[in-house]
């Protein structure tokens, strides 16, 4: 395939990885542990949206050349709310107790792994092992100069990623809540001393991170399909993106996501596409060996 065409696909896949990675790195920045349930949070978001789009059948008539209808809007809202609440509830019943006991980051990360496995099993029990799609219609690709193809859905994915990035920037740098999240990420004890209720900040962070993850899950489902383990298979590329960009740095995570997406797609020019999921591993190991702080360093 043409290199430029692969680049376009890489940007689309990278946008989804970056979007998911921003949520992952945001929660890491404040909680200080790697949330291994993040991929499964993505899957939860997809299936919550699927309930609205396919099970309830709301607004299924496609808008213009897109494959989805207006039903995607309530689907996104439900998914953001559902995943955000699920993340907050799991923190309240699991991670908060571990924090109060003074558990280390390994314990917290292992607990999140358990939550992820549990969530994946529940999703499999409810929806089974079958793969689903939001739409069964054909999403005709647009032709760009140079005979490059891009689907309207893929333009939508990139636009949503851009919107979420701008929204997250405004939240973190222009709002009191966002600044308090950055302060808590920097030094949670000092944040408490300054009068910031760090428990509430953690709760808000889980909610926002969960919301971003839900959106990433829906974008992934639009681009490919839904299965009980779709989000889980995206976990490693998201971790690679987070490490590439600098742990705890959302902008780095987005850039890291784009690098991972583009690299793994471009690699298919020379390697069997079946091996492309190995590319993020190579990037992750290389980054850990040569620049463990990531491209931008580690802070929100």
């Amino acid at each position: 395939m043409d290199i430029l065409q692969l680049l376009i696909i890489g940007i689309i896949v990278g946008s989804i990885i970056g979007l998911g990675a921003m949520g992952l790195t945001l929660s890491y920045g404040v909680m200080k542990f790697a949330n291994f349930a993040h991929g499964d949070f993505m899957t939860l978001g997809m299936f919550l949206a699927y309930i609205v789009i396919s099970d309830l059948g709301w607004g299924t008539s496609p808008i213009g050349n897109f494959s989805f209808g207006f039903g995607l809007i309530p689907a996104i809202i439900l998914a953001i709310f559902g995943v955000g609440c699920f993340a907050i509830v799991t923190d309240h019943f699991v991670h908060r107790h571990l924090r109060m006991r003074g558990s280390g980051i390994i314990t917290m990360a292992i607990a999140s792994l358990g939550i992820g496995i549990m969530l994946r099993a529940i999703i499999q029990m409810v929806w089974g092992p079958t793969a689903f799609r939001f739409s069964t219609g054909i999403n005709t690709a647009l032709t760009l100069p140079g005979d490059l193809k891009i689907k309207p859905d893929q333009i939508f994915i990139c636009a949503i990623t851009l919107l979420c990035t701008i929204g997250l920037y405004i939240l973190l740098y222009r709002t009191k809540l966002g600044k308090a999240m950055r302060a808590t990420s920097d030094n949670s004890e000092l944040a408490s001393i300054a009068g910031i209720n760090t428990d509430r900040i953690r709760m808000a962070t889980w909610g926002i991170s969960g919301g971003l993850t839900a959106i990433a899950g829906i974008m992934l489902a639009i681009q490919s399909q839904l299965r009980f383990d779709t989000g889980f298979t995206f976990l490693l590329p998201m971790f690679a993106a987070v490490i590439l960009g600098g742990i705890g740095n959302p902008w780095g995570a987005l850039l890291g996501g784009l690098i991972v997406g583009i690299t793994q797609e471009l690699a298919t020019e020379w390697i069997n596409p079946g091996f492309k999921p190995g590319v993020p591993f190579v990037l992750l190991i290389a980054m850990l060996l040569f620049r463990p702080r990531g491209i931008f360093g580690s802070s929100i």
């Binding site: 308090a180 920097d186 004890e189 408490s192 001393i193 300054a194 910031i196 802070s299």
Partner: protein, 246 residues
Amino acid sequence: MTALLSVNEVSTGYAELEIVHKVSIQVDKGEIVTIIGPNGAGKSTLLKAIAGVLTKFEGTVTLNRQNVTTFSASNMVTVGASFVPQTDNIFPSLSIKENLEMGGFLRSSGVSERINEVLSMFPELQKRPNEKAGNLSGGQRQALAISRALMLDPVLLMLDEPTAALSPVLREEIFDRIDVIRKTGVAILMVEQNAKEALLRSDRGYVLVAGELVLEQTGPELVANPDVGRLFLGAERNPQIHNEGN
């Protein structure tokens, strides 16, 4: 006169380890009070317990006659007691202005006005409000940490070794600023290793040794006390101190 801060028979420490044993101190309105003592005496531990960072094993703390014994650090600022830790006392990835905004997090209004008021005491910070705090020098960081703690108009400012690791010139500057802050009516309780300079500017001082209070005198009296110097060197574990002031 009723004390602004009254610490009564407080014992505290880390986890099961008691470091400070039944210590009682008090700070009156507008006073500078300094706690001195050799390394490991429990000075910072006591200050952290008063600030709500550490749990008190026993004893009571009252501020403005309100019992604040069980208050957490985030609650202490709501009743007018601000604390500046010795280290990690700024948010390094936030700008100077954002650090101050976080200091005023609980203010419902007037944050910008208060930032201007506070920065007028620290002109070196006023020049570059958007500078990342992590790029500041040691003295500037300390100035920012104190400024951050002043954002909520505290009645009591607790400073844990505010001049640690600073050059003599910067130490003088920080002590001068502390004097200025006191003149605005804020009482100051500080722990200091640069004891002589701190005590000369203090109304009263307490000497803490091995977690126990062994002496209370005025600042100048403590400076003149021949045993105090020996105490800081840690030469004697249970020194007999001349206690002419009491």
